[in-house]
């Protein structure tokens, strides 16, 4: 088959288009592309809504004007000092968590895996809770949480290594570590008086309440490196879905790829935990939601997953802040918002999970 004939065949396949830049060609799935665009528009709309609401209400015009730099002084203060950094933080947190979940589920080939299940969140939580309960300076908590998360990820990886990594072994060891650290947290909670444990309990549910421009910068820099890396790994991730033997036989350096995937996935969730504390549910479910809507994981679907995670966390944060008279931490709400939708998807879509 000649190149042009092949191209014609691809073109005539439903919803696929080929994009050429000189010697490089991309196959674009139009359906995925339109899903990405729609989700992006929804995300921007949700972000606008998030910046309008609050004790000082703003109109759409004021929000847009202020973000674009043509707003009035009062709106500028509220937007640039308070709401814009928070909104950006939430969007990036959601994206980071969703990507982390998608990468872990692919690298270990188990749909129930997420960073929280194999102990990464618990590592950060134990470190932070211990720190809070022993009255250490609060400023160190983000760094501590990051270190806690990354050391648990490395520990799980190293303990699972026996010449190679098996997904089942990694999960079991991850669960073991998770239970161990969880017991440590419970132990601390039972040991200390209730007044102290309350502020520690508050940390264990992630929140975006204190986010500022420093958080935005930290997340933006890390995502600027990690997103391209993750997208570049998507092809390998797809090959790995065929099973280790097949992947190896088509020439994929499987252990190196898996190490890279796990490193990227852990780093993504560790940054999110450092900024906001452990926010549950997003990493586990956003990839499922994305796959149920858009099909098996490709680079395009991966970007869609990222946006689904961002939109999901954005909506959760709006509800957490404004639905009740008291403002709740967003980590409490993610499950409350996402679960019904996820259960509905599960009910409607049958075998695609």
């Amino acid at each position: 088959m000649t190149a042009s004939a092949r191209q014609v065949e691809l073109m005539s396949a439903p919803r696929l288009r080929v994009l050429r830049f000189g010697g490089v060609a991309f196959v674009i799935n139009l359906r995925t592309l339109s899903l990405i665009l729609v989700t992006f528009v929804l995300l921007v709309a949700a972000a606008c809504l998030a910046m309008m609401l609050g004790s000082f209400r703003l109109t759409v015009g004021e929000v847009v004007g202020s973000v674009l730099g043509t707003g009035n002084g009062e709106a500028d203060f509220v937007i640039w000092r308070l709401r814009f950094p928070r909104t950006l933080t939430v969007a990036m947190l959601g994206g980071a968590l969703a990507m982390s979940g998608a990468i872990f589920q692919g690298a270990v080939r188990n749909p129930l895996v997420s960073p929280d299940i194999i102990g990464i969140n618990a590592g950060a939580t134990l470190a932070a809770v211990f720190w809070i309960l022993t009255d250490m300076p609060q400023g160190a908590i983000p760094l501590l949480a990051f270190v806690g998360a990354m050391s648990v990820a490395s520990l799980v990886y190293l303990l699972s290594w026996k010449g190679h990594i098996s997904g089942g072994r990694l999960i079991l060891i991850g669960i073991g570590i998770n239970a161990l650290l969880g017991a440590g947290v419970t132990f601390l909670f039972v040991r200390y008086p209730v007044q102290q444990t309350r502020s520690a309990l508050a940390w264990t549910v992630g929140t975006a309440n204190n986010s500022d421009w420093a958080d935005v910068r930290l997340l933006a820099y890390s995502l600027a490196i990690l997103i391209p890396l993750a997208v570049a790994l998507m092809w390998s991730l797809r090959v790995m879905q065929l099973g280790d033997t097949t992947a190896r036989s088509v020439g994929l350096p499987i252990e190196r790829t898996r190490l890279l995937l796990i490193a990227v996935g852990s780093t993504l969730s560790a940054f999110a935990i450092a900024v906001a504390g452990p926010i549950g549910f997003v990493a586990l479910t956003a990839p499922h939601i994305a796959r149920m809507i858009a099909g098996p994981m490709t680079s395009g679907v991966f970007i869609f997953t990222l946006l689904v995670g961002a939109l999901f966390l954005m909506l959760s944060d709006i509800v957490a802040q404004h639905a009740l008279p008291v403002s709740l931490p967003v980590g409490v709400v993610t499950a409350a918002i996402g679960a019904p939708y996820f259960l509905f998807l599960l009910y409607r879509v049958n075998a695609r999970v």
Binding site: V113, I177, A179, T197, R198, F281, G331, N350, V353
Partner: protein, 345 residues
Amino acid sequence: MTTIKSAGRRSASVRLGRRPALVVIVVLLLFVALLSLRIGSADVSNGDALDALFSFDDSSYDQVVVRSLRVPRTLIGLGVGAALAVAGAAMQAVTRNPLAGPSIFGINGGAAFLLTLAVFVGNLTHPMQFIWFAFIGGFGAAALVYAVASAGAGGPSPVKLALAGVIVSSLLGSWMTAMLLLDEQAFEVVRFWLAGSLAGRDVEVFWWVMPFMIVGVVGIALMSNQLNILALGEDTARALGMRIRLVRFTITFLVVLMTGAAVAAAGPIGFVGLAVPHIVRVVTGPDYRWIVLYCVLVGPLLLLTADVAGRVVARPSELQVGIVTALTGAPFLIFLARQRRIAEL
């Protein structure tokens, strides 16, 4: 093919050890049960512990302690340990996922949620009041999970069941955390229950949960052949003429019954149901008839050992058994996962 061969060889080599190992485990279990009667904030002699069982003298302070505190505690530990371990083995067979434990249907989450709600709204404080709410909450959550997973064409596939369970658990968990954040009093009451403990239960608690546990354990034991077939995979099971939906539903129902009773009696003890089947497989190989039998004995052994250890390490107070099982069981699970190829499910 090589894996099948080597698995066959391995199970042939361990078959010799299965019966002797059973005897050792029974002896250990009796020993630990005796320790559980003796050890506590006030230690009791062997003689008093046995007299309290067989020739009770209510003028002896030690014997009264054994009768009223340690006997219920030990009985509940035996029942809860067996129920959780057997339920865990059954769930791993049904879902064919090593991540599955009895809590996968959101039973722990449901129990904890309804209990917290009851404490939040109704200011309960006594453990006897807790068991009703825990049991109903656990059962309700499991029913919801099963309903969602089995709705739509295709029925309840293992992945759908597991996903629905995780989702419902985290949903209820988040609502529970919200209540605990809003109400310090409720947190004070519930946090000890949430750690999982056998302490301070009346013997009535045992009588109340025992029937559920017996039905569950015996039922699963009778169905262990079906577990073996399910573990081969859905296609094979269907090819062998199994009515998969019915079998799955029955097993699930029994698991929910046992786990609900266990949570009601002792709080959410998460690790036993997950780890014991994996530990047991090292000796039994993949045959569920043996796995279930071993689970009935090793589950209580692990749980009672943990409970006794919890009373010793933190004298004069004690460490909740849920904490100890995780702290001791987890390293063991990690060790096993590294030592052997954990039986692929």
